[in-house]
Point group: C2
Chain length 355, copies 2
């Protein structure tokens, strides 16, 4: 918040942001995300300029001079990977992400962790809001953790997260993990901006007890039964067998991948390396069959259409002339004195004449 | 189709339609529905005029001179009832509707049966397309049966059905039954235009085997286990107990009604009277607590907004200027060279300047 107050006086230039982000400067990256999350029109305009500059084909994938030892620069042959991680509350998402993230940084990779939680707000605690939950990873130079943007609508939160992905990738983070709360529409949003969908499960309990909707289970590319430690190993193996059976009944996925079911203990660090190997096998699979590229295209197209649709709805319904018409017509419609279709037609007609 | 060919020469006047419908003339009613279902702009315009005239507050609820013996004229105190009937294929929807409809006409009520089936088309068979499936009811003067309108989108089919409800009610049918296929989005559409949601179930099988989504079961006000006859009575009672348990776990419904679970055999006609009694108790309940009126208001508002949204989307995306912009911007977005949000912003900006 301090930063926003400073920005109110002088906003840094596009160039400052672009150079800072490309150099992997975490402070500048954080400031750029704050711009993306801001509701102020001048912040929004600047954020769009920064993103446009970072995405510009002739400017992208520059050879950075600050590459960390052992770090591989993302290239067209080895693009970044976007992973959605979800699961019911209590399944151990934070511990899992910390374990997976640490495993990656130990291999010289840079990992960014973002979150989609439309229920979060500045005042309330939210997932990732409390960085102490990922103590080890948040103190790691190779990792970048950002709590969920707050917002009134899932659409707004999702949009901000989608833009933040572009920023952290431009800053050189090759794996982006999107955490969601696992109980509703946020998963659909996360699915629409990632390459891989990973669902965490508890040992022993079926979908219903875990509060997971059937559609969410079907979206998963990898199912990981967490807390497979001590006395729970047996239960975890039972759950694994159960979900393995269930995945056989699912319709084939458009990415041509058969969902894998694994067990792990994020707390003890067991099974994490195997999960990462499976993630890498998945990545190789979808790069090989072209789904990776096709899916990213479709996702970009989806967000383009979504933003256009939301934009025209907003412009239309907030237009003074439309509002005035609605004030007259809506009561008649609600009272059943006018067909909703005839009333809508009347509004649309007067509007399309102006267009 | 013969009728449409005739109409191409001379369209009847609004007055002809309104008088014919109000007089309960089935041929004129059928012609008016054909207008509603037609894609021709002049048919659409005439249909809207007819509906507007029928809904006009000073003209509605006229004292008809042709009221059948024993028939109650719908009034503000005893309005029409709109019932959605759904269930998996093979559950016996047609037989059930025939049994329920016949029960109603025997009590002197007039019943209209409509359908929502977006998969239907003129060439393919569809639910209700084959009237022989409701032989008894289709030969009944007090009943009016209309197959699902055909259409490419559920939105279009649903809209036509919504308008047809207004027509059949104006023609004096006091109970309107909307049949859906029970496997997807059609139920949501039927739910958004009815007062009561009735789900038919098979004896013995759980939701999963019946192919019914959990959300659909939760929408039901009345669950009826059909085919409770002969050796299946025991299984039907087990299913009843199962669903009774399940309904206790559902969140409370906004209409303040606890879903009832009953058994019946549409083929043998048993349990039908009890189901109708429960339907009447439900109607009294929601009339008493005001949900009936409030729900109809909200439904009208919902259809108004839906039609407006669909209309502006269509006008926007089919506008030559927008199409031209999309042709240039979309490839850049799909190739990842331009942020979907920046591209959308560019289109919206040039558009809002015109508005």
């Amino acid at each position: 918040m301090n930063y926003l107050r400073t920005m109110r006086r002088v906003l840094p230039t596009v160039e400052t942001f672009v150079q800072g982000i490309r150099a992997g400067n975490r402070v500048v990256l954080g400031q750029a995300i704050t711009l993306v999350e801001s509701a102020r029109p001048d912040h929004q305009a600047l954020a769009q300029e920064v993103i446009a500059e970072l995405l510009h084909p002739t400017n992208s994938n520059p050879v950075r001079t600050d590459v960390h030892p052992g770090e591989q620069q993302p290239t067209t042959n080895n693009p970044t990977l976007r992973i959605a991680v979800t699961g019911a509350p209590g399944v151990g998402k934070s511990t899992f992400i910390e374990a997976l993230g640490t495993h990656l940084t130990q291999q010289g990779q840079r990992v960014a962790v973002l979150a989609i939680d439309p229920t979060s707000s500045v005042s309330k605690g939210s997932i990732l809001g409390d960085k102490t939950r990922m103590e080890q990873l948040s103190g790691n130079d190779m990792a970048f953790i950002r709590p969920s943007p707050s917002g009134e609508s899932l659409g707004g939160v999702a949009r901000k997260t989608r833009e933040t992905i572009l920023l952290v990738e431009a800053a050189g983070y090759d794996t982006v993990i999107i955490e969601t709360v696992g109980v509703g529409q946020s998963e659909i949003a996360a699915h629409s901006m990632t390459d891989l969908f990973l669902l965490l499960l508890l040992p022993g309990a079926g979908d219903e007890l875990q509060g997971i909707k059937r559609g969410i289970v079907e979206m998963a590319d990898i199912l990981a039964v967490n807390k497979a430690d001590g006395e729970r190993v047996k239960l975890a193996n039972q759950a694994r067998a159960h979900y393995l059976n269930a995945t056989h009944l699912f319709p084939p996925k458009p990415n041509g991948w058969t969902p894998k079911v694994l067990t792990c203990s994020a707390e003890q660090g067991t099974g994490i390396a195997e999960i990462w190997q499976t993630i890498e096998a998945f990545k190789a699979h979808i790069l090989d069959n072209g789904f990776f590229q096709e899916n990213r295209k479709q996702q970009a197209g989806y967000w383009f259409k979504e933003t256009l649709q939301a934009g025209i709805q907003k412009a239309f319904f907030s237009h003074p002339k439309v509002r005035k018409q609605l004030e007259t017509l809506e009561p008649a419609v609600l009272a059943g004195q006018m067909s909703p279709f005839a009333a809508a037609e009347a509004v649309l007609k007067s509007w399309s004449e102006k267009f």
